[in-house]
Amino acid sequence: MPTKVEKDSVTGTMTTGHEWDGIKELNTPLPKWWVIITWITVAWSAVYCVLYPSWPSLSSYTGGTLGYSQREEVARALQAAQAQHAPMVQRVTAASIEDVRRNPELLGYAMAAGRIAFANNCAGCHGAGGQGARGGFPSLADDDWLWGGKLADIQQTISVGVRTGADEARTSQMPRFGADGVLEPQQINDVAEYVLSLSNRAGDAAAAQRGQTVYADNCVSCHGERGEGNREFGGPRLSDNIWLWGGDKASVVASIANARAGVMPAWTGRLDEATIKMLAVFVHALGGGEQ
């Protein structure tokens, strides 16, 4: 309880009048400039509440008279970025994919944009560097292509996807030779041995010999006479060192018995034409692109 406000003899400052056990408190108010700035900020906060979004309500918020919104700001920034890219995107859309590949300026742009589109859309399955992954995610960096490695082939595959049900989709059908009882387990074993011998891997020579007949009856139409594959039907090449589903005998047997059917979405509709074109150019340049 304030008792007596007096001037302190030592400092010359007034006391607050409070006293505890003989100790008196000096009255040292906040500096004037500090108080003024505080009140200015308080006043500004009131102005801010009127001008900008500030108070939440149950389902919305006060919008402010300036109508400012960070979402709109982002949208505007995105639009500005798109507008900035528009001339190049238009040029890519207008040019044929071969022209994009040949024009250094368009190629540079397509590679940069394709890299980003690849990371956003493709890397999840095909890997950051297009190296693919076990379990049916093909490597895009090697020289083995199921549906063709030319620019136009890649562009088409990205556009229509694999086994999407669309009319033009890349679709192939490997019969389930074991599960559906087309071949006996012995025959499957024999034809697996023959398939392994196509890539010069020694195994049971007699079984391979027997398997050749089975192969000729059941596999040749899609995989070719010597296992060279057929890109028309998406028949994988069996005579090389690249195996999408594993190249050891157990995997090959499993593939014959149960068949394999990977899928990839069609990107038409998800991505615009220019982006698909640039993706194709980027994938083509990963290392396996064919001329």
Partner: protein, 502 residues
């Protein structure tokens, strides 16, 4: 209780005896002065300001696509141009070298001639000098200015003050304006500044340098040298008894006092205590008090005193650039004699010799020369073409259908020249290894032809494909070699080739 009580008692008993920690500035009103050192200062002022304001306007033809300004720091394009030299950001050590040269040069000059940098060439001194000249031209000389400041505010005083500050601000704005010209094309940026098209950065820096020039040269002045600048604090370490410094020859001047014209000088020092040396001093000190931190060694008091000595008919040099060693020798020679002209004769016998070669100066000069040589060698050995190779990590390698292994590399060729050479890239280290790239032609002998962009870094992604039979180990060294069209090797880079364990 006892401590607080003691403190209270202490403060109660001697409140006014506690030392004041803040010294109010005493405004300095330097008077006009004429003489040799004033002329040198005017000349250096004109030369340094002339270089500062005009250098950005000097043109230098570098061909198309490159700026035609002789001295330019091009921040957006990451280049610095100095006449025929073009520096990339990674070569900023040349700038470091220049700064080292500047520092050691300053040490050398200071050890020989004292604080000539402070007195003659420091921007703070030069701009303050210019601002003082403006002040003198508008408000008059020392006495007029003192009177004007003490006078009540009248229309004339207001007008003079407005004129002075307007002139100061104009000079300050020109200073800030010239600064941005070193970072932008001068004619373009000047036009943009006046038409309001310049970037916010440009206006910010013009404003910043205008404000600082105005504040430092107009208002802060000698306080910058006395309180803000670190150089006066440690420059004493470069000075010794053989360095030239501005000194008052007390053995000759004392006892000072008024002297009636025509009377004898016997028993009378040469200093007539006219106060001119104090009146002209830009930092407002009395050189007769001896060496002081505040003295910037400009020598204006020498000019002032020489004028007065000429008027009273005594030899010049009562205040002079002298070494402490010579000062002490003269004082010792003069000490036994009574005050008066006899002392001057005794001191005249003391040899004046400027000891240039001292361990200190030799060391400074040696380091200076060494840095010069290092920089020169670095500049002459500067490469204009550089190759760097970064191996892809995802995937580490790609197995191809025929069993061979391919590694991919990101290749950067840095070309500092404004030419567009085509280089041939080959790879060594693995038998049968073949190069390919999506955007480069393959020439004879399997070499890739890389057209390098001028004054830029060009990037390629190249593939090296090696037959399985050549791969003896999971990691094998390979070397990329870049050759000119004449077959001359211009750059090489070592990397490794990875393959699955056999």
């Amino acid at each position: 209780m006892s401590t607080i009580h003691a403190l209270k008692q202490l403060r109660a008993t001697e409140p006014e005896q506690s030392p004041k920690l803040y010294a109010n500035r005493v405004k300095v009103y330097p008077a006009r002065v004429r003489g040799l050192f004033r002329r040198i200062k005017w000349f250096l002022l004109a030369a340094t300001l002339g270089v500062y304001y005009l250098l950005p306007w000097l043109r230098w033809d570098r061909g198309p696509g490159a700026p035609s300004q002789a001295v330019l720091v091009d921040m957006p394009n990451r280049r610095a141009y100095f006449f025929w030299i073009e520096i990339w950001p990674q070569e900023v050590y040349f700038l470091t070298g220049l700064l080292i040269l500047g520092a050691i040069g300053l040490f050398l000059v200071t050890s020989l001639f004292g604080r000539v940098w402070c007195g003659y060439a420091c921007p703070q001194t030069v701009w303050t000098d210019l601002f003082m000249w403006v002040e003198r031209a508008i408000e008059g000389d020392r006495n007029a200015r003192i009177k004007l400041d003490q006078a009540p505010w009248t229309g004339r005083k207001t007008l003079l003050k407005i004129a002075k500050h307007a002139a100061w601000l104009a000079i300050a704005a020109a200073t800030g304006g010239a600064w941005v010209m070193y970072f932008n094309d001068a004619p373009t940026v000047v036009r943009e500044v006046f038409t309001g098209e310049a970037s916010l950065t440009v206006y910010f820096f013009v404003g910043l340098f205008t404000a600082f020039t105005y504040a430092l040269a107009g208002w802060a002045r000698e306080q910058v040298c006395t309180y803000m600048c670190p150089w006066p604090r440690f420059q004493a370490a470069m000075l010794d008894e053989n360095s030239l410094i501005v000194t008052y020859r007390d053995w000759r001047g004392e006892p000072r006092g008024k002297h009636k014209a025509g009377t004898s000088w016997e028993g009378h020092g040469d200093c007539v205590d006219c106060g001119q040396c104090v009146a002209v001093c830009p930092t407002g000190i009395d050189i007769r008090d001896g060496q002081q931190l505040e003295c910037i060694g400009c020598g204006l008091c020498v000019d002032a005193c020489d004028t007065v000595m000429g008027r009273v008919g005594r030899p010049r040099g009562l205040i002079a650039f002298d070494t402490l060693q010579h000062l002490d020798a003269c004082a010792a020679a003069a000490a036994p004699l009574p005050a008066g002209p006899a002392r001057l004769d005794a001191a005249a016998a003391q040899p004046v010799r400027l000891k240039v070669f001292r361990p200190r100066t030799l060391i400074y000069a040696g380091v200076l020369g060494l840095v010069c040589i290092v920089m020169l060698v670095a500049f002459l050995m500067r490469t204009t073409i550089e190759l760097s190779v970064l191996r892809d990590r995802a995937p580490l390698f790609v197995a191809l259908s025929d069993g061979s292994i391919r590694n991919s590399y990101t290749l950067k060729v840095l070309n500092k020249l404004h030419a567009t050479p085509v280089y041939a890239l080959s790879v060594q280290g693995i038998a049968g290894a073949a190069l390919s790239a999506a955007d480069a032609e393959r020439g004879a002998a399997g070499a890739l032809h890389l057209p390098v962009r001028p004054d830029a870094v060009t990037t390629w992604r190249v593939h090296v494909t090696a037959p399985r039979a050549s791969l003896g180990a999971a990691s094998m060294p390979v070397t990329f070699v870049l050759r000119g069209q004449d077959g001359q090797e211009v750059a090489r880079y070592s990397s490794v080739f990875l393959s699955p364990r056999p």
